[in-house]
């Protein structure tokens, strides 16, 4: 858009088809808002899927969400909000022509976004470790109504129930429902051993018996996870349960605890437990992708806003940051076996070396050049504004994701 004109007194940033800078800026902002509407609708689809599954399987969400780490989630919310603040301040700085401040704030925003991704990595890693990952790497995964690996599911359930009780975010009521929970657990165990075990999982001869027994829902009729249940539109109800799905009813049916244990889920819900995680990964994954795109956009803005030195250091700096990120990933997974830790380490080293060399070269060759100064001025900062809007949207979506996924009651 920076085309030079000879006939008009167009400033360099003004594209040929606009008459005034104000018109160009308004157009850019309008376009950006319209684009953001498309983003909201795209996520809207996911929220819709979420709502459908949650409305149909409230117990699954009550049970499974406790695998998520509320403390990290809350910290991440704060981090992202802070970065939104620095971004907004950055837009203001651009408007006032405070170039140094603008660059500082953009870099601060970059750190916020990067911190968010870092924390997200920690969380994803924990899910991976406890077989709660996306797709078939989820302990509750099944095809045709039978858990692929009941033993693993039992392990994961144990983790979820314990983790949910100790997770900081639920601290307020951790004590009381923790106790109630233990009871429910023991009772569930006993029941299923006594009653349903043989009938339900006789077919899975190779599954470890105590683990398999955890799958059987104590209150459910002795049908277990059979494919024919998939055709039922409603959860199968045990004797004495009511169809009401209000929180009160759920609590009552969970022996006083806020949250059901896996063994308390009815068969249809057991079947859908993994769907919670699939939706979680779909939503946070797509959101994470948006954060990454946002980081790219902010870097681009930073480059355009910067003087020669900023420009010389920015891209190498990004390489170094990615390198540091991979070091962190390597540190996280170093205990794991397989190809992944080595790959992370190699990637880290490569990025660090490339960034350092490139940075050194750029610094050595950069001369102060007054012409290569910031592209932005109080008369033209539309790109900063638009990227800012995008970043706020990314933040806003997280503000919805966090309570919907982490804070289910």
């Amino acid at each position: 858009m920076s085309t030079a004109h000879s006939d008009h007194d167009h400033p360099a940033h003004l594209a040929h088809h606009f008459e005034t800078s104000a018109q160009q800026m308004e157009s850019g902002k309008l376009g950006m808002w319209v684009f953001l509407a498309t983003e909201i609708l795209m996520f809207g689809g996911l929220f819709c899927a979420y709502a459908v599954y949650r409305a149909n399987n409230p117990d699954v969400f009550l049970f499974a969400h406790r695998a998520l780490d509320t403390t990290w989630g809350a910290i991440n919310t704060a981090v992202l909000l802070a970065s939104s603040f620095t971004m907004a301040w950055g837009v203001r700085a651009a408007q006032l022509g405070q170039k140094k401040l603008l660059i500082g704030l953009l870099i601060a925003t970059l750190f916020g976004g990067a911190g968010f991704m870092l924390i997200k990595t920690v969380e994803y890693k924990a899910k991976w470790d406890h077989a709660l990952f996306v797709g078939p790497s989820n302990a509750y995964y099944h095809d045709n109504g039978t858990l692929a690996d009941p033993g693993e599911a039992a392990h994961s359930s144990e983790y979820i129930e314990k983790h949910g009780d100790t997770d900081g975010g639920h601290g307020g009521h951790g004590d009381d429902h923790g106790a109630g929970h233990g009871d429910a657990h023991a009772a569930g165990h006993g029941d299923s051993h006594a009653g349903d075990h043989g009938g339900d999982h006789g077919a899975q001869a190779d599954a470890p018996a105590p683990a398999a027994s955890k799958i059987a829902a104590p209150a459910a009729p002795p049908t277990g996870l059979h494919a024919d249940l998939l055709t039922h539109k409603r959860p199968v109800l045990g004797a004495g349960e009511s169809l009401s799905t209000g929180i009160g009813a759920i609590q009552a049916s969970h022996k006083g605890s806020h949250y059901p244990a896996f063994t308390e889920l009815d068969p249809l819900n057991t079947n859908r437990t993994h769907i919670f995680f699939q939706i979680y990964f779909a939503m946070t994954g797509l959101h994470g992708l948006h954060v990454l795109i946002g980081l790219g956009l902010i870097s681009w803005i930073c480059y355009r806003a910067g003087g020669p030195m900023t420009r010389a250091l920015l891209v190498p700096g990004l390489f170094v940051s990615v390198g540091i990120y991979f070091v962190f990933v390597w540190w996280l997974v170093s205990a794991n076996s397989g190809w992944f830790p080595t790959t992370a380490l190699v990637a880290a080293v490569l990025c660090l070396i490339a960034g350092a060399l490139w940075g050194a070269k750029n610094v050595a060759l950069t001369k102060p050049n007054p012409d290569a100064d910031s592209e932005f001025s109080p008369g033209y900062y539309t790109p900063v504004d638009c990227v800012g809007l995008y970043w706020h949207l990314v933040d806003l979506i997280w503000i919805f994701l966090f309570p919907l996924l982490y804070l289910i009651h």
Binding site: Q23, A37, L41, L46, A282
Partner: protein
């Protein structure tokens, strides 16, 4: 881009241009086609007119490909039993048939009919009709073309796999080189999660094509809001632009939902997340809701631009101010909004609740109201007009006929009791071909003929244009009207073979499709030959008053001649133009002032 030189630059480079802008076609003239030479001046252009032409080449190619598949489909159906590959096992024929109708549907919907009018005619005409130099975001516009091409490549890829697989009798080809696609254009789960054909590539293709659509929509909305000239309030916006605006709104609001649907389907295929797969605890009806939440509004993405074209053409060729301007404009928006609350009518037999069914049924019928408003206004416009039956007008009249039939047959489909009978029969096929081909394609052809002199600077052969138009009309009706009858008798859609009692319907339909094909090739020949050797077009061959007719044909690079500052005019006021026979076109009256109508 630099400023247009005031003296015409002599064409010097040898004729390497893509579109027939060879030396000699335009002599020394400086217009947007001759402005800049060489293939790169096209591939890197940000001129909306050139992007419109590039879209035209690609979209017509897609139409050609989709058409080949249509003819193959109809040929398989000409007799009962196997027809296309009589030497092969029946099973091979049937599988081939599934591939044919899937590729036909997907290519026609996503690569032809959705982009046809907005991306070709809209891109070309919208900024000029606004008196603007370009769309608001020219580079996004180019990006949209590249998205279109990129998305289309996925389909070509699938298609190549299908051809190779069929020729060599291969089954179980790898996902990155799949044997065609056999899910239908709707990609319904759970079949689409199970089939080993090209669902992964198709979802990626549709996703990328969706981006092209969204970018065009964003661009049009911003352009119409921000780049209107002096004296063009919303009440002077040509109806074509109103309908493109409404279309863009749908593109913005619906396409992202398709995008997430495709992403989830992709995740289903690649990661196995199972959200739509009942075997994994997922909900296949949710897929249908998602899909139709996009795809019903999408049918209005297809029809609304055509309605815009028709509003222009009917008024111009009746030499009369459009009747009920504000009703037509408002009904475009009404259709766009209503379109979002009726998607459930595709799912009456999916097991959704009876209450939902009744609500969707009622809402669906209400969409017929704004559609009918338009039809009545067009008829009222023609009443007492001085009607000129040029080719665009023939297509426009055809549109009114066919859209009326298509729209009215939507009503029995929207009624619950009758839909149980009609669902998944040829009645539905006939219905949507009447609205998509009979209406959108006719609107597209009307628009192409209407703006052809402006786009190419050449007049087409009017006689030939009319003859081909009648042939297309006859072929179309021959092909599809009979399908209403076959469908009422219970002929199911999407089957490669059929009960011999349906033979005569299929036979006639297939013959009709050949007539239609010949007619369409005639149209193509008509265009190509006029571009190569047609007479030079006047600035205003039709005496229309929207701003694109206030500039030479073809327009200069900057849309209007230097020093001409376009201003809004009453778009349907024809009193300011005189026919001048030496020009073979209309010339603006000296010092004309609009008096109101």
């Amino acid at each position: 881009m630099s400023v247009i030189p005031t003296n015409p630059s002599p064409p010097s480079a040898p004729g390497t241009d893509v579109v027939k802008a060879k030396k000699g076609l335009y002599g020394d003239e400086d217009n947007y086609i001759t402005h800049g030479k060489g293939i790169l001046s096209w591939l890197l252009t940000i001129d909306h007119k050139r992007i419109g032409l590039m879209y035209m080449v690609c979209v017509l190619a897609a139409f050609f490909i989709g058409g080949i598949f249509a003819i193959a489909l109809r040929t398989e159906l000409i007799w009962p039993g196997q027809t296309l590959m009589p030497w092969a096992e029946a099973n091979t024929n049937w599988k081939l048939y599934n591939q044919l109708f899937s590729v036909h549907g997907a290519v026609m919907v996503f690569m032809f009919i959705i982009p046809a009018i907005p991306a070709i005619l809209g891109n070309f005409a919208l900024p000029i009709m606004l008196g603007a130099k370009d769309v608001a975001f020219p580079r996004l516009n180019l990006l949209s073309w590249y998205c279109y091409v990129g998305g289309s490549l996925f389909f070509l890829w699938i298609l190549t796999g299908g051809v190779v697989g069929t020729l060599f009798g291969l089954e179980n080809m790898p996902w990155y080189f799949p044997k065609g696609i056999d899910t239908g254009w709707t990609f319904y789960t759970p079949y689409s999660t199970d089939t080993n054909t090209g669902v992964i590539l198709a979802t990626m293709g549709v996703f990328v094509l969706g981006f092209a659509s969204i970018l065009t929509g964003v661009n049009f909305i911003a352009t119409i809001h921000m780049l209107r000239p002096r004296n063009m309030g919303w009440d002077r916006l040509p109806l074509m632009l109103w309908s493109l605006y409404a279309t863009s709104v749908i593109q913005i609001l619906a396409t992202p939902v398709l995008a997430i649907t495709m992403l989830l389907l992709l995740a289903e295929r690649v990661l196995g997340i199972g959200v739509f797969d009942p075997a994994k605890g997922g909900d296949p009806v949710l897929y249908q809701h998602f899909f139709w939440f996009y795809s019903h509004p999408a049918v209005y993405i297809m029809i609304l631009p055509a309605m815009g074209v028709i509003s222009e053409v009917i008024s111009v060729f009746s030499r009369k101010h459009i009747f009920g301007y504000s009703f037509i404009a408002a009904s475009s928006l009404a259709i766009a909004l209503f379109g979002f609350i009726v998607w459930g009518h595709h799912m009456f037999t999916s097991g959704q609740s009876p209450l939902l069914n009744s609500v969707f049924s009622l809402l669906t019928m209400s969409v017929a109201v704004p559609s009918a408003v338009k039809v009545f206004n067009w008829l009222a416009t023609m009443y007492n007009g001085k009607i000129r039956l040029d080719t665009p007008m023939i297509y426009a009249l055809g549109f009114i006929w066919l859209f009326t039939i298509g729209g009215l047959t939507g009503l029995p489909l929207a009624a619950l009791s009758t839909d149980i009978h009609y669902h998944d029969t040829y009645f539905v096929v006939a219905h949507f071909h009447y609205v998509m081909v009979g209406s959108t394609l006719f609107g597209f052809l009307a628009g192409m003929y209407y703006w052809w002199p402006k786009m190419t600077g050449k007049m087409y052969n009017e006689k030939a244009g009319q003859i081909w138009a009648w042939m297309v009309f006859a072929g179309f009706n021959l092909t599809f009207f009979i399908q209403f009858i076959a469908g009422s008798l219970g002929a199911p859609r999407r089957y490669a073979d059929y009960d011999p009692r349906f033979w005569k319907y299929h036979f006639i339909s297939t013959l009709g499709s050949y007539v239609l094909m010949i007619g369409l090739f005639g149209v193509l020949y008509n265009w190509v030959s006029s571009w190569r050797s047609g007479k030079k077009a006047p600035a205003n061959p039709w005496g229309a008053n929207t701003l694109e007719w206030h500039t030479p044909s073809p327009p200069p690079h900057a849309n209007f001649e230097d020093g001409h500052e376009p201003e809004g005019v009453p778009p349907y006021d024809y009193d300011g133009w005189d026919y001048v026979s030496e020009e073979e076109g209309y010339v603006r009256k000296e010092g004309y002032v609009y008096q109101g109508h």
